[in-house]
Symmetry: C3
């Protein structure tokens, strides 16, 4: 594994999920692996779960951690080549990443999409600049279009339910702000790699990018989609087609108990943070598995770190 930015970076996704389960069972078994190794966590955007769980994972492996909020701790970076750098951007990503990767053995980076220029976002411009200029492996802490650490934790969470071939439904949910498609893209990608039975339900016009929808069942009728589901995974995302558009007058897409009653006693999942009574009702959230799902973030990150550390030995 050269970097961890997508399920396609992973040789054997099923094996990685199993490794995450082992990390959860014996979190400190490999606490020698990280000796003298430093993980750098670079945030262009806010973070709670990723920030904390990845640090915890690194500590479980005996690593040191350096956290840095770009802009707040440092200064703005220039990403375009060939510029005369006379604006507010004090350093080019080329130097910044080359340098940071010398001080760290692994680099994690979080970089959200602008949700304005679809081609730029979907080219993973910033993440790829990091990969290009880093001398060490890059771990995505959520990029413009994918969030693989979340998905790996999601797969572990589903695995733990021990349901044979569960019917998984990814449902669009309402929100007041334009959110990335990253979590949803990534969830679909990992479901497909795990040969899971995955259906996407969303309002018309809110389908994910064709590359992610390919091979996935699509059902615009949310209640129809919920029937017989074993897992409801809710997430808002802004439109891919009408790029970055927020859903209007779609508050009835909330996941509530009435809809959950249509399912096969499905477990409710969400990556968090979640807006209560907008995305999901209190009732549904309070009997969900989102807290354990978040707990699994530590072991997803630990499995990935361990994979890299082992290959360094």
């Amino acid at each position: 594994m050269k970097n961890f930015t997508s399920v396609t970076d992973v040789e054997d996704p099923i094996a990685l999920i199993k490794k995450a389960a082992l990390c959860k069972k014996s979190p400190f078994e490999n606490d020698h692996l990280g000796k003298h190794k430093t993980l750098g966590l670079i945030f262009f955007n806010p973070s709670l779960r990723t920030r904390l769980s990845t640090q915890r994972a690194a500590y479980n492996l005996g690593m040191n951690v350096i956290v840095m909020n770009i802009d707040k701790d440092s200064w703005k970076l220039e990403f375009e080549d060939g510029q005369i750098m006379n604006s507010d951007k004090a350093e080019h990503v080329k130097e910044a990443v080359a340098v940071m990767s010398q001080y760290c053995d692994l680099l994690g980076v979080r970089t959200f999409p602008g949700l304005v220029n679809r081609d730029e976002d979907y080219s993973e411009f910033i993440l790829n600049q990091f990969i290009k200029y880093s001398s060490v492996p890059i771990i995505s802490l959520e990029s413009a279009t994918l969030h693989p650490l979340q998905s790996l934790a999601d797969m572990l969470t589903i695995d733990e339910l021990k349901i044979v071939k569960p019917k998984i439904v990814l449902t669009w949910a309402p929100h007041i702000r334009a959110l990335p498609q990253a979590v949803s893209n990534s969830f679909v990608e990992w479901c497909k790699a795990s040969q899971a039975d995955i259906t996407v339900t969303c309002p018309e016009g809110f389908e994910l990018s064709p590359e992610f929808m390919e091979g996935v069942k699509l059902e615009h009728n949310q209640k129809e989609a919920f029937k017989g589901a074993d897992i409801i995974y809710a997430k808002n995302w802004s439109s891919f087609n009408d790029y970055g558009k927020i859903g209007q007058n779609l508050d009835h897409w909330i996941v509530d108990q009435e809809k959950m009653n249509l399912t096969n006693q499905a477990k409710f999942m969400h990556c968090l943070p979640v807006r209560r009574n907008l995305v999901v009702s209190d009732e549904v959230l309070d009997s969900s598995i989102v807290i354990e799902e978040a707990n699994n973030r530590t072991y997803a990150a630990q499995a990935v770190l361990q994979e890299f550390l082992t290959s360094m030995k």
Copy 2:
């Protein structure tokens, strides 16, 4: 001890003060206790001493530490139940705390009062939400109405003076901003638990809450109060009665050498940060024990952490 938020959480306060003294004597004796344990420090408000001393205490015990400034590193939290979360608050405290407490073995939290709604502040609404939703013990890094780590350090500092039954005077002092009553409430609470001889002196209308004033001598004449004192503990606080009000035209409440001359060669204490020549004169501060008092913050925190770590074994 389930949590550490008040002297009432502590089974034997005197024993805890002794434990802090032992930590100071041999800071690294228990450096194995924190192995594989992570302390999370969550700040809703700025901090210098608490931030640094608690980290140092954790390191002395071999713990890992994760520090997080809510709002700056993450996003705003919703604390009210039953809300439709369509404002600027992206996550409910219920999920945030449940999740953070999975990544950490102990959680410290600093949350100041709003000084607008007295009932809300004195209900310790935010702190109690943390306690309610956390799966691990909560350590107060100063809450709306109490600052027990400061008080424990204060008690250690007083103990080190080896004065038999010292006369302790807590004096109100001037300030330009509305400050919490937390440090003062807490100091009184710990003095009472230690059966100390404690007098509060303040302008009329600046008495602490009745629950804290109960059993404490009150003297509105500052100079009268100072007579024969062995320890002068100065602190500004805004009014409890006229909630959050700042003292006007009360600059003569400054602690200066003339007033100190009325005492029994009293030692001057303050929790810091302190505004020179407003709260206390340069002369008095420069011959005070505030630096050693701040030093004791490390060992107060260490004693509390050690107490929790020991009970986890």
Copy 3:
């Protein structure tokens, strides 16, 4: 060594450069030295390289690290004595530093100049307040007028080139903002202490302070200066004479390939961050040694930390 703020603090600069080279060769050989020791890094100003490389250096030695951004994590400090502190500054440096130095075994501090009051900047007022009130050694992470960790890394970088008595040229370069003279002053200071052959080239009126120019060759014709150079070290700085003034209409001072062609196949150095195509052309920067120079920051910091740790045993 009592503190590390200038080459003049170092008994044997050449030996320290050699020590940095040894740290690079065997980074973990002294990982026991930092046991139970905590490094505090205090930033009044942003930082990328210094922040990360110094943390890494401390980890290589087995130290713990506490990082604090003053103002963001804490509050503003008062530096003047005798003030009635009724402004926005909540704590005097006297208490803040005395206290911080109790929680840490070594304190690093970054504090930039105001570039308004030359006497104040060149008195190193803030840094000296830290030295005055700290009970532990102070390491400059760049002060108003010097940046010795950068210079030590620069000397190591030059040493690694194994050029006998290289001709070193420090060239002024264009910029859009008023920058400190610190890196340039410090570079000259270390070159002189190493008996290097150092020439400064800059527009008239941009000479460094007389104390640094003394014993250094000065050449206002940039192309003339470049002839036969083995090392071109570029840096912008604002005027010392017309204090803080930015150079106007001086964009032709950029270092480009045409000018580099005048040299003896000189290596290009810069402390970073660098503004491409303003300070230096893409072409020159992309074939430079700035990345390795930045890498050496870790080993410069490690040599200094090791020096202090050894003397504590």
